[in-house]
């Protein structure tokens, strides 16, 4: 950007609100008992209800309510005792009823927030959540499979969603990205969704406007759609904001419209919209009486909430005395955090446990692409291994070897150590014998060490370690070597 362009940009403030659709991990659909599983042959998971056959009626899935409530509570929202489903009417071939069952002016939950970081001064940056409501997903339209035709698959039609609408509180693409990452982590922690943007279980639409810095009124916003990743959202926001600034700087006005992000070209383009804006003609869904949630049921759901990421981070810091970096790494994924805690509690030394989990465990998982849920090394066994190291039964080097064997076989560490002869040797006689061999094999280095080149100690010790397959106790060895070669 030129200096002039930068100056222009600085005159304007970006205002962003995000609408996030999240697929809930239920077994069956929102309004019928069809499977909600992904991957079935086209239209295999359909029935009179989700096909919208004449005369079919919706019946709400209680687990969808439970998951939606859990999400709303985790986002600090006030769950409404009475909420009402509504019909959102429009025509599209993957919307079989010609309306979507959603919620309109009486949604499930209102008024929450998400903390996305801290300002320089230390106060938290909170992004408001206006509402969370329940709705059903539409089917899929496939445009390029048959020439001249669009193919409709209704397997996804009726899968339960929640829509999370934020306040227009974000002031930069970076904040938008942070919001999405925090939101995703919270939703993963409470296990309501796979929240995978690439797979479509999390979708983002952005509303962005520009206003002069210092102004409080909001500018005209445009809606930006079709982003496929969090970084895509950030880039799209920058591009659209820049476009709006250019228009405004030139004295023009922003047209309220929908823009589509083209990730390949790095551009936004107006969606070819039909006559005027959408008129969804919302009215309360007559086939579904109002959803009434008892206060004690809501309280129980709040009580049953798993520990949320922020609370877990705080607890890790205070309970395990871990630094910020360690806390971030260990709590990024709830299952890794669970794993870590099991190890730390069993072993009793949180820092050692942290090093091993952040190091060996995560590295192994990353390189094998494995999920910690399927990891062969049980926390109790890892703790046992750390115990062996602490008690001097195996050396640190040997421990790493043992760990690899544990990953491959799932066997307990003591068994592996025995079997493979990795138990640490601190028997003076054996150590002396090895030392003799190594000195004999490295006469030059031994001579130089005798003459004062202390750094060669490491070479000789390393040679003994190698010879002993890591079993030699390095401390004892060092003492013996010093005694032998007198330095």
């Amino acid at each position: 950007m030129t200096a002039a362009a930068t100056a222009a940009r600085d005159r304007w403030e970006m205002v962003v609100g995000l609408e996030v659709h999240v697929q809930l991990k239920t077994r069956t659909k929102a309004f019928c008992p069809c499977s909600a599983e992904y991957g079935a042959p086209p239209n295999a998971n359909t029935c009179p209800v989700c096909l919208a056959l004449p005369g079919a009626l919706p019946v709400l899935n209680e687990h969808a309510v439970a998951l939606a409530t859990r999400a709303a509570l985790a986002l600090q929202c006030a769950v409404q005792p009475v909420s009402v489903f509504a019909r959102k009417n429009y025509f599209y071939p993957d919307l079989p009823k010609g309306y979507q069952i959603s919620q309109f002016d009486k949604p499930l939950a209102l008024g929450g927030w998400v903390e996305i970081g801290r300002r320089a001064e230390g106060d938290p940056i909170r992004i408001g959540v206006t509402r969370v409501h329940m709705e059903e997903d539409a089917g899929k339209s496939v445009h390029d499979r048959f020439p001249g035709a669009t193919a409709i698959d209704l397997n996804r039609s009726g899968v339960p969603l929640i829509e999370i609408v934020s306040e227009p509180d974000m002031r930069s693409a970076e904040q938008a990205g942070a919001y999405l990452r925090v939101l995703k982590q919270i939703l993963e922690y409470i296990d309501v969704s796979d929240v995978n943007m690439e797979e479509g279980s999390l979708r983002v639409d952005a509303n962005v406007s520009a206003r002069r810095r210092g102004e409080s009124a909001l500018g005209t916003k445009t809606e930006v759609k079709n982003m496929n990743s969090f970084s895509g959202v950030e880039r799209a926001l920058e591009v659209e904001f820049a476009r709006q600034v250019a228009v405004l700087e030139a004295g023009g006005t922003i047209e309220q419209q929908t823009m589509l992000w083209d990730g390949n070209a790095g551009e936004v383009r107006p969606a070819r919209s039909k006559e005027g804006s959408h008129d969804y003609r919302y009215f309360p869904e007559p086939d579904l009486p109002p959803l009434i949630l008892a206060a004690d049921w809501i309280e129980q759901a709040r009580h049953d909430l798993p520990e949320l990421p922020a609370a877990r981070r705080a607890r890790f810091a205070s309970e395990y005395h871990l630094g910020e970096y360690d806390v971030e790494v260990l709590t990024a994924d709830a299952h890794v955090a669970d794993y870590y805690e099991s190890v730390a509690r069993a072993h009793g030394e949180p820092k050692a446990a942290a090093n091993w989990v952040m190091g060996e465990v995560l590295a192994t998982l990353k390189s094998s692409g494995q999920d910690i849920a399927r990891f062969r090394v049980r926390p109790a066994d890892l703790a046992a291994l750390l115990g062996l190291v602490r008690d001097g039964v195996v050396s640190h080097t040997a421990a790493k070897q043992i760990f690899s064997r544990m990953v491959a076989t799932g066997d307990p560490p003591a068994q592996i150590a025995e079997r493979e002869g990795l138990v640490k040797v601190d028997d003076d006689a054996q150590l002396a014998a090895w030392l003799d061999e190594v000195i004999a094999e490295h006469p030059d280095e031994a001579e130089r060490l005798r003459n004062g080149e202390k750094k060669l100690q490491g070479v000789l010790i390393g040679a003994v370690m190698k010879k002993s397959k890591g079993r030699a106790d390095p401390r004892k060895l060092t003492q013996l070597l010093s005694a032998r070669l007198g330095s």
Binding site: P42, E62, P290
Partner: protein, 102 residues
């Protein structure tokens, strides 16, 4: 509140009714006659009256998150106008059209 031909065209578009111009023109008069009779409603004081939604005080019944799915006595292929490889086929949409039509 009189309905105009533009209103009728707009509503017919929202409802995908494919009206001819003649039919649309005729419907302007028909709708206005019907709507005139609705004026009675405008005179009623409904301040503070709740809308009649919902059936019982028990609220919405729910079902367990489990199957089995509702069975179809015969394949949907038997009633579908155009099916291929299990997909319903419709005339191809332009990919640049917005994801919903209004």
């Amino acid at each position: 509140m009189a309905v105009t031909i533009d209103d009728v065209r707009h509503i017919a578009t929202l409802a995908r009714l494919g009206l001819t111009e003649d039919r649309a023109a005729a419907l302007v008069a028909e709708l206005n006659t019907i709507l005139e009779h609705m004026d009675e409603l405008a005179k009623v004081d409904t301040a503070g009256v709740a809308e009649a939604i919902g059936v019982g005080a028990e609220g919405l019944p729910v079902r367990k998150d489990a199957g089995p799915p509702i069975p179809l006595a015969r394949s949907i292929d038997a009633v579908a106008p155009s099916v291929r490889d299990g997909f319903f086929l419709v005339p191809r949409l332009s990919t640049h059209e917005s994801s919903e039509e209004s």
